[in-house]
Point group: C2
Chain length 341, copies 2
DNA sequence: TTGTATGCGTTATCAT
DNA sequence: ATGATAACGCATACAA
């Protein structure tokens, strides 16, 4: 059943039915009621393509999800989209997901911008310098970046967590506890968030007059095996540091696994501070959480990014919006002064 | 730039340009080349909505993702969509994600079926009895179920793993090792896959003449804290079984955490067999994997489901297709005969 | 308050 | 091999 048929059925013109359905004020209450109930009764839903073609908007937001080399979607992603997706659904928007190798990402943006399939996009995982931003600006497609790049922060919209400050604080905290040899297990440092975390960590070391030891800095895919392999190799080489900063709870689980295998206990034989995105499937909570952590909900980040983008689209105001959150430093049981003290 | 403008620019009719772009044979090679290069040069992409309206297809597949009570997206989901999404992208399809509370799921299907936004849907997480299947059949929307329900398997398309057999085999394996008190940490048993796993487990126990002990059976959200809490409470009550079957590697990590806290070692103080969906962010591999496991890639399941659905759509053949995989039983270091033997 | 006519940007039908 | 014209199903400017 389409609009025309519904109108015929009601002895009305398509125009009136359309107006009634879309809540225009000039239609009489009695007519509106007739229309609404007939629509519900016949399970009428306007053709999305026809409506979009007519109004020039598609009520959909695009997310281009780059696959890593291992054909993997970053697991943090599922929590981000649960937040964003919830916002979209409540606002009557759909989420369009495009899963492509990194190399094809730009082609997808070009298509999205030209074929009108989406009204805007969320950019995931910005690099230190990221060509996507300039591309999207030149395409005129509204977008919000989850994270930032290094240059020209003020020319586009983003929402980010203060990664620099978070890691500076955490490092400082470890130093205050008396730690000297502090390692870092980071994400890929071509990613902006990871570079900022490293810089915050280095700054705190420098402030305390501690020499940076590159052998204690690791970067890679933030998954369980990363932490395991790093820790395992350090144990084997007998070069275990006094403390570790870890960029995600996933590699942290790997570190703990390697420690347990060697009879070591977190918070006793080594201190750990973990960046906790509050992944819903790996809670680090309880009265005394397992990990001392930097805490910031990635799901709320998704929610917030989505709201920002919808606001840009619906207000027709493309002024850049920025949002910077601070991570909480929450004390758990994985930190303590070094044993030798 | 739209089709008309591109045509004018080329001194051709829109019809010819459209034909050239869409690979129709009747257009001359010379014309086609002119059209193609002009299109590339101007970064022309046909309006998706106009094309969809004209041809009556949208080249998009819908995934309705129900949020659990905790506003959580099942983490297994991200691997499933990385497989499905890759297939879509390569076939020129997009993925439409709708994140809604369980109660609104049917409304979304009704909308999808009527507004033409998607050409088909993948159904996630079927329950033991699931009204979505009948609904989709009545709506005439092509669909593939990831999993099955109990009734009428032959009337719709699905791809599933033989969960019954997998858990029967694993249980039998533990029994053969000499275990008697074997527990089960399962997903919600309102879900079909979880019910089948339980039944396979019970069947093996029955076969061996072992009395089922309901106090050793747990079901819930398959996340890390589930395993931790179950194991913790059993340790506190001094009722630790000889072995556990665990429905996902996430709760398995929680079980291991609780064991470690009490100085217990998997594969020594208790045997574990884990259903391993091969989540890309939690690999259980290596020469000797940490967990003895039932192994089946959920990413490949996503890939396979997507291929099945696209085939149904493009062949215009809605004959139900079924695909049943067997999980591998892979030996790791978390199983051994009971200590008392 | 309701209706008529037109346009949105394609693809498909029927000519030539 | 190419073109004119009519759909596709809606929204909207304009008319009544």
């Amino acid at each position: 059943m389409n609009l025309k048929q519904l109108a015929q059925h009601l002895n009305l013109s398509p125009t009136t039915v359309s107006r009634a359905l879309n809540g225009y004020p000039e239609v009489s209450e009695r007519t509106r009621e007739r229309v609404m109930s007939a629509a519900a009764q016949h399970n009428y839903h306007p053709s999305h393509h026809a409506a979009s073609l007519a109004i020039g908007k598609s009520r959909a937001i695009g997310h281009v999800v780059p696959l890593s080399e291992h054909m993997m979607i970053n697991p943090h992603f599922s929590d981000f989209i649960s937040g964003a997706g919830d916002v979209y659904a409540k606002a009557g928007y759909d989420m369009l997901l495009s899963v492509v190798p990194h190399t094809e990402e730009e082609a997808v943006y070009r298509r999205f911008a030209k074929d009108g399939r989406v009204d805007g996009v969320i950019v995931h995982g910005p690099l230190v310098e990221d060509s996507r931003i300039e591309l999207l600006q030149s395409l005129g497609l509204p977008f919000v970046v989850h994270g930032r790049t290094l240059d020209d922060e003020s020319t586009y919209s983003w929402m980010d967590v203060n990664n620099f400050r978070a890691f500076e604080r955490a490092t400082q905290f470890l130093i205050d506890l008396g730690h000297q040899h502090i390692g870092l297990i980071n994400g890929f440092e071509s990613m902006n968030f990871a570079a900022r975390r490293r810089d915050g960590y280095l700054k705190a070391l420098r402030n305390a007059g501690i020499q940076d030891n590159p052998e204690l800095r690791f970067s890679g895919e933030m998954i369980e095996p990363q932490g395991y392999q790093v820790m395992k190799s350090l144990i084997d080489a007998d070069k275990v540091p006094m403390a570790f900063l870890i960029s995600s709870i996933l590699p942290a689980l790997g570190v703990v696994r390697a420690m347990h295998e060697s009879g070591m206990v977190p918070g006793k034989d080594m201190s750990l501070i973990v960046y906790d995105d509050q992944l819903s499937f790996l809670q680090n909570s309880g009265d005394i959480p397992m990990f001392t952590s930097l805490r910031s909900s990635i799901q709320n980040a998704g929610r917030s990014s989505a709201e920002m983008l919808l606001d840009m689209i619906n207000s027709n105001d493309t002024q850049p919006r920025n949002l910077l959150w601070e991570a909480e430093l929450v004390l758990g049981s994985s930190t303590a002064p070094p044993r030798s003290l």
